[in-house]
């Protein structure tokens, strides 16, 4: 099984749709921990992405994802803009001029994208951020592929690990970003960044395993 360029485009569209669907929920989560704008900002950025996606739809996967990244950087604002923007820029660079992806390509792209988030945000896992969903998602993808699981099964497990990682942010103490100002009061709330990051991996799994 390979991931076609069309599937990559479908993933971005599915991510935009999921964020639109959960816009209010993301904002509610952010109201408890930050400044109540995560849903609106991500939605605005992804709508801008959809506007530009058709213009690059016949290009290679690297170009498509870098366009997504630059668009998010210039339209989301907040911390999510540079973080998601850097994720897609690095993942796009890792994809290069490919027109379809193998399981190993996707693993390397995800790894590069997450490294970009670490560089930009200077965060580590366990600090109640999007890394807490993406990190387990990456680990599980890698482990599943190594033990010989087919890609669609590895993607499902990866999304499931991201969901567990997202839920595991509830009891965490925030030490990065605006939520860190709350100190102990950040405990007991699910992190909005981890939630949108789960949607990112969940839509990838759902889109790419559909019919598989």
């Amino acid at each position: 099984m390979v991931i076609s360029k069309e599937a990559v485009l479908a993933w971005i569209r599915a991510f935009a749709a999921a964020v639109e669907q959960h816009k209010e929920y993301l904002t509610e989560l952010d109201a408890a921990l930050g400044d109540a704008d995560h849903g609106a900002n991500m939605h605005r950025g992804l709508q801008a992405v959809l506007d530009r996606l058709n213009g690059v739809a016949d290009r290679d996967i690297g170009t498509i994802l870098r366009t997504v990244g630059m668009t998010l950087v210039s339209s989301v604002g907040g911390a999510s803009g540079p973080l998601y923007g850097t994720f897609f820029l690095r993942a796009g660079t890792a994809a290069g001029t490919k027109m379809e992806l193998t399981a190993d390509d996707w693993l390397q792209m995800l790894e590069a994208g997450i490294r970009g988030i670490v560089d930009r945000g200077k965060a580590r896992r366990g600090e109640k951020t999007m890394l807490d969903a993406l990190g387990p998602g990456l680990d599980t993808l890698k482990a599943s592929l190594q033990e010989g699981q087919p890609l669609n099964e590895a993607l499902r497990r990866s999304a499931e690990a991201a969901r567990e990682g997202m839920e595991a942010t509830i009891p965490m103490l925030a030490t990065k970003g605006r939520a860190s100002y709350l100190g102990e009061r950040s405990v007991g709330h699910q992190d909005p960044g981890a939630t949108s990051a789960y949607l990112l991996l969940q839509t990838a799994a759902e889109t790419w395993t559909a019919g598989a």
Binding site: R44, V73, S180, Y181
Partner: protein, 333 residues
């Protein structure tokens, strides 16, 4: 929610259109990407001083663009950091060949977006320097958190550094001055009511009729403590003591005392606050040689107040007194 707006999504744009219409002699407004810049920019040979941040804190930063203060300001959406393309385009518009100084408040979004902008500008051969303002004593600093927030001191820093840039300080001198201002200033705020972000439509936090939040941030982030409302003098004493003990300010220090309104506090209450803060400064033996009272760094319609103390030296006093001609701050011209 009651607000004097047309549409939540057009708040920032329409406010910028109003700023341009009202102060066309001082500033110009560029849209897409959005930035406000000095009408006489670029000033050749001068370091361009640029700041920015989420909207909703007006007059900071857009109202501080003009002679003797900022060369450009990049407004984000309400309470949301601006994006790197805004800072890059603003910098190209106003830089006069002597580099660009970014004044950045310590919020993760602002820091990351300015950092990306600086990388992009360096790649194009424009020199930049950045200083992060983090004066809010309500937030405990630690290696493991984002650190202290940038609040009231930002206003004073933009005035002092803007005056120095106008005098011809170079990029390194300005950076050192800005770091010195940041090292000598401390702030803390409180709120009586929440604020409502227009596109969210409901209050950012809930505060009962008889409660207040001590140590509030300028986006309605919770502070140190929620408690029963107390008389103004007791509230100001709590803020003042937290601020003065943090640096610590010491007897004999020459200071600027800044009492700031959060947007929904009438000036009459700000002067009640100033009266008490000045009395406390006298008790501590501080020499308040300069003052500022008014709503300069706000949180939309939040009711509340913040106190900022800045320890001054001769150079800072001279620069504070220099002429400034912006929509939000104007003297000596």
């Amino acid at each position: 929610m009651k607000k004097l707006i047309n549409h939540p999504e057009r708040v920032v744009r329409e406010a910028l259109e109003g700023l341009a219409a009202a102060h066309g002699d001082l500033v110009r407004v560029h849209f897409d990407p959005d930035y406000v810049y000095r009408a006489d920019a670029p000033v050749q040979g001068k370091v361009a001083v640029i700041s920015g941040g989420g909207s909703g804190h007006e007059p900071m930063h857009t109202g501080f663009v003009g002679q003797g203060m900022l060369d450009a300001a990049c407004p984000g959406q309400v309470f949301t950091s601006p994006t790197p393309d805004q800072m890059v385009e603003a910098a190209k518009q106003v830089h006069g060949g002597a580099g660009v100084l970014f004044i950045v408040k310590n919020y993760s979004g602002d820091v990351m977006n300015f950092e990306m902008a600086a990388e992009l500008l360096e790649a194009e051969g424009i020199r930049t320097a950045s200083v992060i303002i983090d004066d809010d004593v309500a937030v405990e600093n630690s290696l493991y958190t984002q650190g202290r927030r940038g609040v009231g001191l930002t206003v004073l820093a933009e005035k002092i550094v803007g005056a120095a840039a106008e005098e011809g300080y170079d990029l390194e001198q300005l950076k050192a001055l800005l770091e010195r201002v940041n090292a000598n200033g401390r702030s803390m705020g409180m709120a009586l009511t929440s604020c409502t972000v227009p596109h969210v439509g409901k209050p950012t936090f809930e505060l009962a009729e008889d409660e207040m939040e001590i140590g509030i941030g300028i986006h309605g982030e919770p502070g140190r403590q929620r408690m029963k409302l107390k008389p103004a003098d007791e509230v100001i004493t709590m803020l003042f003591e937290s601020v003065v003990k943090d640096l610590p300010f010491q007897a004999g220090d020459r200071c600027l005392l800044f009492v700031n309104g959060m947007g929904g506090t009438p000036e009459i209450e700000l002067y009640i606050a100033y009266r008490k803060a000045k009395a406390l400064a006298d008790e501590y033996g501080l020499q308040v040689v300069r003052s500022l009272v008014g709503s300069y760094i706000t949180s939309l319609e939040m009711q509340g107040v913040s106190l900022t103390l800045l320890r001054l030296d001769d150079e800072m006093i001279r620069l504070w007194d220099r002429p400034v001609k912006t929509p939000g701050l104007r003297w000596g011209v």
